[in-house]
């Protein structure tokens, strides 16, 4: 079996509940209030790795205030999908739209609004914790909504600001990577396994961050095997490889 079609899931067509409206005015809403048009729309995406077809015919319509949990077996293509959605990797077929604008690899329309966490946290060991956060924030071009020290406090790294990042444990690195999400007001979050290496408090932190983000009208696409304790009104699940199980 070379090709396998993932289960096609679409968001429930119900109208957004009142708590989906943005609570913080500093964050742009993903779609206009009242509009039901999906912010991130993927049609018939296909992904190749070498000569092997990883997935094709993948459709996803994600709207403001939603947390999309991507689940699937190892090798199903979760990371590939997130890279395609982030505009890091090209899709072998299909189209991708962000706020109605067609996007491809390196499209600026998406990168303005995106905060991305890959399976590597992107932390430079030779820089301090605060320098790492400052560098990544300035690179992103997004407007910080708080001071960097406050973002470090929010992720529990307040006392490590001056420490060299190479001294951090894997979980602390992950927390530092998450500090960017708190610091910047990006409407679209794409996170690849954000719970990796985190302790129980860290997981609860991610869940709280995702909930706040969705309440403000942000959109998050998250790949994780762990159940996410976020309000069911915001949570959507996308399951890979349902045909495999059959």
């Amino acid at each position: 079996m070379s090709a396998r079609g993932p289960a096609l899931r679409r968001p429930r067509p119900s109208s957004p509940t009142p708590d989906l409206r943005p609570a913080t005015p500093s964050l742009k809403t993903v779609t206009n209030p009242g509009s039901s048009a999906p912010a991130l729309l993927a049609r018939d995406l296909a992904c190749m790795r070498g000569d092997e077809l990883i997935f094709d015919g993948l459709c996803l319509a994600a709207s403001a205030g939603e947390i999309w949990q991507i689940v699937g077996a190892n090798g199903a293509g979760k990371t590939s999908l997130l890279k395609i959605l982030a505009g890091l990797a090209p899709a072998a077929g299909g189209s991708l739209r962000w706020r109605g604008v067609e996007i491809g690899v390196g499209a600026e329309a998406l990168r303005q609004d995106l905060c991305y966490l890959g399976h590597l946290p992107g932390i430079t060991g030779y820089l301090s914790v605060a320098e790492n956060l400052d560098y990544l924030a300035r690179l992103s071009g997004a407007t910080p909504v708080m001071r960097p020290a406050e973002a470090l406090l929010a992720v529990g790294l307040a006392e490590l600001g001056a420490a060299p990042a190479r001294r951090l444990s894997a979980g602390q690195r992950q927390r530092l990577a998450l500090a960017r999400f708190v610091l910047l007001a990006s409407p679209l979050w794409i996170m690849d396994e954000p719970l990796t290496a985190l302790d129980q408090a860290g997981r609860e932190l991610v869940e709280q961050m995702l909930t706040d983000h969705a309440r403000r009208g942000g959109l998050a696409v998250v790949s994780t095997h762990h159940p996410l304790a976020v309000p069911a009104a915001h949570l959507r699940r996308f399951e890979f490889g349902a045909s495999l199980a059959a």
Binding site: V105, L136, G141, A142
Partner: protein
Amino acid sequence: MSGGTALTAARAVLGRDLLRAWRRRGEIVQPLVFFTITVYLFPLAIGPAHDTLRVLLPSIVWVAVLLSMTLTLPDVFAADHADGSLDHLALSPHPLALLVLMKAGAHWLTGAAPLLVLGGLLCAVFGLETYTLRALLLGLLLGSPVLSLIGTLASALTVGLRGGTLLLALLTLPMYIPVLIFGTSAARNAALGIPVQAEMYLLAGLSVLALTLTPWATAAALRARLG
């Protein structure tokens, strides 16, 4: 956009690479030591014939500069790829060509500029005439940006490849040949008392050409490698 301009991001990339180089200055010194040893091997191999050495010295310095700069090229993107920060460079909304130009600039400042100073000192120690020394140093100053820019492009092309370090040297050294030819020919002509303007103009031209073309090629290569 209040979050920052492309210039802010460019300064951040340059500042971060320079800071990182400063923090690991113990490793940055290694290519300088390699350079010095390479240059000092030739007097030992050629023997004490002072005139032969003086004739060959500019060429020896040029070759040693090429080899030493090849050694530092993996630093440009490989470490960033290994820790994941290269993804964030590619995901920045600012022009990637500008950001990789800053990476090449940081490579020149940390990997080439110290070699120029050291090369000048070594030549002075070996008693190179002032006019030849000035032609050699001006040639290195005009030619070394090409080496950093082409090296950055090759570094982007090989990022994430296993055995990339040797492949990087195999890719870059042939592309360094034009710079080497004009640079050494300038020093040779200077030793004979012939004007060297033509070579200097050509080296400057190559620099401008590399400066205008390679950032875009490097950005495209990075996007292709990350995909």
